[in-house]
């Protein structure tokens, strides 16, 4: 059978890769090619070179090396028993395509993943080869994200980290029961074992660089993972708990959530109802609360209802504030940073501006209005030089007055 053209294969292998949510290219070591050799640069903040109509950033060439797979995970469009068209690229073809796109300023680099062909080790070697060609033959200084295969040799995973800015392994499902049912070829201990060994390799490499300036870097943009939301029975509280464990045990840089979405030729084992995209958004917000707002995992879980689900109509920070009304109002002229970060409607940036401005003046409501997006949302929770809200406990309608009225519209395509 003749090989389909590069364009056809690119179509198939990009289509196969789109269920991975991550496209980040931020937070890696700074590099450039100003010396006149090589190609590319990374300057801290990643760049989204385009946006697709699904609102997602296109920063990297995100493709699979092949969508042939010996695994049969029910949620996956590339599973062995699926009827999708199959294709494969050679590592050289992937490297050439990356360079051609990069020169035209289409991308920040490459995010390469793969179905498992022949064996885990063979697949991992092919992924590494593509990264090696880019780094050694093209002296490519852009961003590389390699998906690693948990079942592969630790020694291979270690090599991947030397070429890649980021390595990732997907935990796939938040619960072990979900994994056993939907990804019967995968195992939680194997996945977590591989994450642990990458985690310690990252720590060791950082440590070595403190002592030896030329020690090799290992995945300077860290390790990330992805969880599918809504394909198993896990509640939001379960997912938040699982993420917190992953962040602390494996020092992950990011946990991505991907609301399970319909795929062509879906397995009959999958649930019929897809979760609303808003659920995914609320999980990202709760993730932010833990990473940037000083919320402990159990505090985020307190924002959920009795069934462990976060409200869809209001964000988790507001939900928490409504439940713990005695923590408010907060005096913007005196409260510590941690207390200000708990105020619904105040972001990290606004809190920084408030802290800086209040050294110059006593803040009035009008001043706060200049520093925030919406005064309406903030007002019930703060005290300023000229403003004090009526007692919050008296306001049974507070939630209704703050919830966005058009929240349902966002789910127009949600079912």
């Amino acid at each position: 059978m003749s090989q389909p053209s590069v364009m056809e294969r690119l179509g198939i292998l990009a289509d196969a890769a789109k269920y991975d949510a991550s496209c980040a290219s931020s937070g890696t070591a700074k590099r450039n090619s100003a010396g006149g050799k090589g190609l590319g640069s990374t300057e801290g903040m990643g760049i989204c070179h385009a946006y697709a109509p699904d609102g997602r950033c296109i920063s990297l060439l995100k493709i699979l090396l092949t969508n042939h797979c010996i695994f049969d995970c029910h949620y996956c469009v590339n599973r062995k028993s699926s009827n999708v068209r199959r294709a494969r690229f050679t590592p050289q073809e992937v490297a050439d395509l990356t360079i051609a796109f990069y020169r035209r300023n289409y991308i920040e680099g490459l995010f390469l993943s793969s179905g498992i062909v022949r064996s885990s080790n063979h697949t991992m070697e092919q992924l590494i080869e593509a990264a090696r060609i880019l780094r050694e033959e093209h002296e490519f200084r852009g961003y590389i994200h390699l998906k690693t295969i948990p079942e592969a040799d630790p020694e291979l995973v270690a090599r991947a980290g030397l070429y890649a800015d980021r390595v990732s392994i997907n935990v796939e499902l938040p619960t072990q029961a979900g994994l056993a049912r939907l990804a019967p070829d995968k195992s939680t201990p194997v996945i977590e074992g591989a994450m642990a060994s990458i985690g310690s390799a990252i720590v060791e490499a950082k440590d070595a660089r403190k002592r030896f300036r030329h020690a090799p870097r290992f995945a300077p943009a860290g390790q990330s993972t992805q969880m599918i939301v809504g394909a198993d029975q896990a509640s939001d509280a379960d997912i938040v708990g699982r993420s917190a464990t992953l962040y602390s045990r494996f020092r992950l840089r990011r946990v991505y959530y991907s609301a399970f979405s319909p795929i062509p030729d879906a397995s009959a084992v999958l649930p019929l109802q897809r979760p609303p995209l808003m659920r995914e958004h609320r999980l990202y917000q709760s993730d932010w609360l833990m990473r940037f707002y000083g919320f402990a995992p159990h505090e985020v879980q307190q924002a959920a209802d009795a069934g462990g689900m976060l409200p869809l109509d209001i964000d988790p920070k507001l939900a928490w504030a409504l439940r713990f009304r005695d923590a408010f109002p907060v005096d913007v002229n005196r409260a510590p940073r941690e207390a200000l970060l708990r105020v619904p409607g105040l972001g990290v940036r606004a809190v920084n501006a408030l802290l800086s401005a209040r050294r110059q003046r006593r803040l009035r409501l009008e001043d706060v209005g200049r520093l925030t997006v919406s005064l309406t949302k903030v007002r019930p929770f703060i005290v300023t030089a000229d403003w004090r809200p009526t007692l919050l406990v008296d306001r049974a309608d507070l939630r209704a007055s703050l919830a966005p009225h058009k929240a349902r519209q966002l789910e127009l395509f949600g079912t």
Binding site: L10, S41, E43, I47, D54, F101, R104, F413
Partner: protein, 480 residues
């Protein structure tokens, strides 16, 4: 006092002038700032007077780091009042050294509002500028881009492209001027037009293919896209031409996927009799539609064991009962030999209809596909709930798939295969496999089959301590 700056993005000249003005004690209201192309436009107008010398008592000019950070970007904005606003802030800063940190001050806020779109413009130029390759007379390649910035950011952004594409030769053309990188020197050129840039690049077709396929039609969020990539950028991005058709087709594509995947099995059956009616009418896969009759399970239910085969065969389909053909005979006799009474358990199949190939008079067995087994698993799951067995014996890889969701290898995984809740699932080969072997191979395989059944019998005894009590035989011949 008129101050004329040499270029709209010359921050250095503004700083020198502003410093001189402060030292000379000239208040903001007395200064008017001009930039090329935005002054009175009169060629014969008087050229501006030089800035007066510093007053003898002038203190040193103060400019905090926060101030410099704030105005560095704001001064690149296209708004003509930016120089004046920045000078007003510098003037007040002399008495209030930390003023620039007070984001609640209206003037600081105004300058901050000017700096944000500039920062965004710089970022979007790095993101959305597209190079097109052009062959040079000497055979080398030059990469040329056309971009239309909103603010005076071209020079400020040059460093980024030099650091990133140092080994390439490239040009960036804009309506306000152009940049040319020769490989080691950056040269500035005059304003250009879109026609000076190449009209296409053969790679763009590949890029568009990538863009169309990385888009997930099941998650359409046009607003989120427009917020980050407003329409004004689209005309210079080769992929953007696809956006209208991708949006238009998305809902249809999603609906088609959902329809294909839809498995409306209706409410779960409450009894095994309901389940038998259900499978008889099931048309969810090709086997269900092949005109054969469905074969329900039979036997003893509640706290018993369950034996799951692949699918009914020729005899089973005709009689409407499981395990009554040649393979069933092997199974029943070997179960007896291992000390298991087949009548004490529940016998059924992973797939409820008979998949076959009609060849003349005979109907030749065909293995069901993984997709067909997965579809029929809905019925098997309901059947397991109703029968509630403590132990299940899977005969062959297809049965295992119906139970645990993956195609297990009998040779490697025979014996205890999985534990789901308090149900243990055992695996051995399908008895029809033995019928296809001859001689020594058959004897060897049969011995292993018998050994597996003995193991299963021991597990049964361990779970129940004593042989299962004679509970009522339920609905033995459901279909008759």
């Amino acid at each position: 006092m008129r101050v004329c700056l040499p270029a709209p993005d010359d921050n250095e000249a503004w700083r020198t002038a502003a410093r001189g003005l402060i030292l000379a004690g000239i208040a903001p209201d007395a200064v008017s700032w001009e930039e090329p192309g935005q002054g009175p436009g009169d060629l014969f107008a008087q050229s501006p007077a030089p800035i007066p010398p510093p007053r003898p008592d002038a203190p040193t000019v103060r400019a905090s780091k926060a101030f410099l950070n704030l105005v560095r970007m704001a001064l690149l904005h296209r708004a003509p009042e930016r120089f004046d606003l920045a000078y007003r802030l510098l003037w007040r800063l002399q008495g209030q050294p930390r003023l620039a940190e007070d984001a609640a001050d209206p003037l600081v806020r105004r300058l901050d509002q000017l700096s944000r779109p500039v920062r965004r413009d710089i970022h979007k130029m790095r993101a959305f500028l597209r190079f097109r390759s052009v062959a040079e007379p000497d055979g080398s390649e030059r990469y040329v881009a056309w971009f239309e910035p909103d603010h005076h950011i071209l020079r400020a952004n040059a460093g980024f492209f030099v650091r990133r594409f140092a080994a390439m030769r490239w040009s960036i053309l804009t309506p306000a001027g152009s940049l040319h990188w020769t490989g080691d020197v950056l040269e500035e050129g005059p304003p250009a037009t879109r026609l000076d840039a190449p009209g296409g690049d053969p790679l763009e077709e590949l890029w568009r293919t990538y863009y169309a396929n990385i888009f997930n039609p099941a998650r359409l969020k046009v607003g989120a896209m427009l917020k980050e990539m407003p329409r004004k950028y689209w005309k210079n991005m080769p992929e953007a031409a696809l956006i209208p058709e991708l949006i238009a087709g998305a809902q249809a594509r999603e609906a088609a996927m959902v329809d294909l995947g839809r498995q409306e099995f209706g409410p779960a059956p409450d009894s095994l009799a309901d389940l038998a009616t259900g499978i008889a009418g099931c048309r969810h896969c090709a086997i269900g539609c092949n005109g054969t009759r469905a074969v329900p399970g039979e036997g003893t239910r509640r706290r018993a064991f369950m034996i799951v085969g692949e699918q009914p065969g020729d005899t089973e389909e005709m009689e409407g009962r499981p395990f009554v053909g040649p393979a069933g005979e092997v199974l029943r006799s070997q179960l007896q030999a291992a000390g298991i009474d087949p009548g004490q358990g529940w016998l059924t199949n992973a797939v409820k209809h008979f998949k076959h190939q009609p060849t003349g008079k005979r109907r030749l067995h065909q293995t069901p596909t993984a997709g067909e087994i997965d579809t029929c698993r809905w019925w098997l799951d309901r059947e397991r709930e109703l029968v509630a067995p403590r132990l299940i014996l899977a005969l062959g890889a297809s049965a295992a798939r119906g139970l645990i969701g993956r195609t297990a290898s009998v040779q490697r995984e025979r014996g205890l295969l999985a534990r789901q809740g308090d149900t243990d699932i055992w695996l051995t080969c399908h008895p029809s496999y033995l019928l296809r072997l001859d001689g020594a191979a058959r004897e060897a395989e049969q011995a292993r089959f018998v050994a597996d059944l003995r193991g299963f019998a021991q597990a049964l005894a361990a779970v129940f301590h004593h042989p299962p009590t004679h509970s009522s035989k339920e609905e033995g011949e459901l279909t008759s």
